[in-house]
């Protein structure tokens, strides 16, 4: 019995060891970056570079702890007490939720350049090698025999961008005739073969399981798919798409509590330096600085026309959400029979 107790004690202590070990080696300064899923590789690299720079400038060691997950779930963890110094999320509304909880001061979106979005992305088409179905623009999606893969806008944030980009195209094409725009969207969704619940699921369905002819995807995700399966896919950038601005913000309540405001600000500002911008570009996010974006002109189709969510057509996220995606909204009307 004693032996058992002893070994149990040892077991419990050994479980704590790595943690206490960490304490001994802890950096002088530590900040927490709560981010969303596809930015993992970007911040892996960026944090290393910034930590080195911080050490060179101040002589102090810095550790940036990063965490990734679904954007709104991540926002919820911050609201519920995950003490993030900075948040770098997919959608402004997720940060607005944190603001509503009183942790971030209003006006955060003006705190950093370009609407506090150091990098942007857009929706593109991923097609199979050689583009056998000859898909170049949104109206090619509704051609006979074309199978489309997109996640469900009801359950996936990314899918809402797909939908809105198609809407922007149709609005232009049919000259604001909403009945025709709806009909166009309806036809697109009639061509959808599999409606996964999340963006990664759709990528998997298209890439690994070989379903469909075209995947509507984030530009950065599409490039990742290209890297993973070289020579099997191509990216098609439609002439018109939507501009996504994943914003960053300082979580005022937590930096003030921890005394990390200065380093957190410096961290986010560094995203806007040429070096930070290039790291974003390297990980397939479009740098917000036009000069640096130009350096990536072979990688990104910079001549695309990109509609923003704040365009009068949508009137911001909250309006778009209410009109299109809430129950009984336009998306539901499309899917009735």
């Amino acid at each position: 019995m004693k032996k058992l107790l002893l070994s149990a004690l040892i077991f419990i202590f050994s479980a704590f060891l790595p943690v206490s070990g960490n304490f001994l080696l802890a950096a002088d300064v530590e900040i927490n970056n709560v981010s969303y899923d596809p930015t993992r590789e970007l911040y892996d690299e960026f944090n290393g570079v910034f930590e080195a720079k911080y050490k060179a400038d101040t002589g102090k060691t810095l550790e940036v702890v990063q965490s990734h997950g679904g954007s709104s779930k991540q926002a919820r963890t911050v609201i519920e007490g995950n003490e993030a110094d900075v948040v770098t999320l997919a959608l402004a509304i997720d940060i607005t939720e944190i603001e509503k909880a009183g942790l971030i001061k209003p006006g955060w979106q003006k705190e950093f350049p370009h609407n506090s979005a150091p990098y942007t992305s857009t929706i593109v088409f991923l097609v199979r090698k050689g583009n056998p179905k000859n898909i170049h623009d949104w109206d090619d999606l509704i051609r006979e025999g074309v199978g489309v893969i997109t996640p469900n806008p009801k359950t996936s944030g990314g899918a809402r961008w797909n939908y809105l980009a198609a809407w922007a195209f149709a609005d232009r094409k049919f000259n604001h005739d909403e009945a025709k725009v709806k009909q166009f969207l309806k036809e697109i969704f009639e061509h959808v073969l599999v409606l996964d619940t999340g963006a990664r699921g759709s990528t998997n369905t298209f890439v690994a399981n070989g379903q469909g002819d075209v995947l509507l995807a984030w530009e950065n995700e599409a490039y990742l798919a290209l890297e993973e399966a070289p020579g099997k896919f191509e990216i098609v950038s439609p002439p018109l798409s939507i501009l996504a601005e994943p914003p960053v913000a300082i979580v005022d309540a937590y930096v003030d509590k921890k005394g990390t405001r200065e380093v957190a600000t410096e961290y986010l500002n560094y995203l806007y330096t040429p070096e930070g911008q290039r790291i974003a570009g390297k990980h397939f996010y479009r740098p917000s600085d036009p000069a640096i974006a130009e350096e990536f002109k072979d990688q990104f189709q910079l001549k695309m026309e990109l509609v923003t969510i704040d365009d009068p057509l949508f009137g911001g996220w909250e309006k778009a959400q209410a009109k299109h995606f809430n129950d009984g909204g336009v998306f539901d009307q499309i899917y009735t029979r």
Binding site: N152, K154, T155, V192, L193, V194, L195, D196, T197, G201, N204, T205, A208, N209, G210, Q211, F325, N326, D327, D332, Y335, T336, R337
Partner: protein
């Protein structure tokens, strides 16, 4: 009894309370929505099919494991629990990869018969069958193990054929257990979300399951409507379970045991 009421009744009451926020009218509109009803039908038919398949093949599996001695029997016996141990998402993804029209299993089936498995209702049935196999096997197994072979031998000696022995001696003995396994599998299949969404295709009116309707309402913080759909599902399940139980009670009385 009080344990049962705490574990089962309280969540049910909270469901009812939560959905009552809609009012009678809103509740009725939600549960009579065509898309919701069709999703419920898909869920019921697919889990019914899955449970039926399991009732037959689970019985055979349990029979083989208890009655025959063969190499690796222990291992196979252990494998039965695998669907429980595996995270459902893993099960869903691997079944999908296996059965798409270019997967190991899916390609030959598609080439030979032109039948798609993944992203159709067949895929949903497959996932549910996989997930719920342990219920049937594990319900029947102990009964089969305890069933004395003397009865069967007596039957055979008295001149009954093997088929007759099975249907008139063995089956009545294991019927209650089989029914239990069947209804457990059926109920679990109804609620199964994790594995099914990967293989289902999730197209409204075709391969959208009721739990997905609930989930997408939850994603939009639409708790009232989500619980309304849940109440609807609960009502159907409860009715079915009630009749299965009645049936089971009848059979038990008939065989005079259990």
């Amino acid at each position: 009894m009080s344990y049962l009421s705490i574990i089962v009744l309280i969540p049910m009451i909270s469901l009812a309370v939560e959905s009552s926020g809609l009012g009678v009218r809103g509740f009725w509109d939600t549960v009579t929505d065509t898309r919701t009803l069709i999703a419920c039908r898909v869920s019921f038919l697919c889990s019914l099919a899955g449970a039926l398949v399991n009732a037959v093949f689970g019985l055979i599996l349990a029979w083989v494991i208890t009655r025959y001695r063969f190499p690796l029997r222990r291992l196979i016996d252990g494998l039965i629990e695998l669907p429980f141990a595996l995270p459902t998402a893993v099960a869903g993804i691997s079944l999908t990869v296996l059965t798409t029209d270019n997967g190991w299993l899916g390609k030959p089936v598609f080439d030979l018969f032109g039948i798609r498995i993944a992203y159709t209702q067949l895929g949903i049935i497959l996932a549910i069958t996989f997930i719920t196999i342990p219920f049937v096997v594990r319900s029947i197994q102990p009964v089969l193990e305890q069933l004395s072979r003397d009865y069967e031998d007596a039957g055979l000696l008295l001149g009954a054929g093997r088929t007759r022995v099975f249907f008139q001696i063995v089956l009545p003995e294991i019927k209650p257990a089989l029914l239990t396994g069947f209804s457990l599998a059926f109920a679990r299949g109804l609620g199964e979300y994790g594995s099914v969404i990967f293989i289902a295709g999730n197209i409204p009116f075709q391969t959208e399951i009721a739990p997905l309707v609930i989930m997408s309402k939850l994603e939009q913080f639409n708790y009232d409507q989500a619980t309304a759909v849940a109440v609807l599902m609960l009502f159907f399940s409860f009715t079915i379970m009630f009749f299965v139980n009645r049936l089971q009670a009848k059979i038990s009385r008939f065989t005079g045991e259990h």
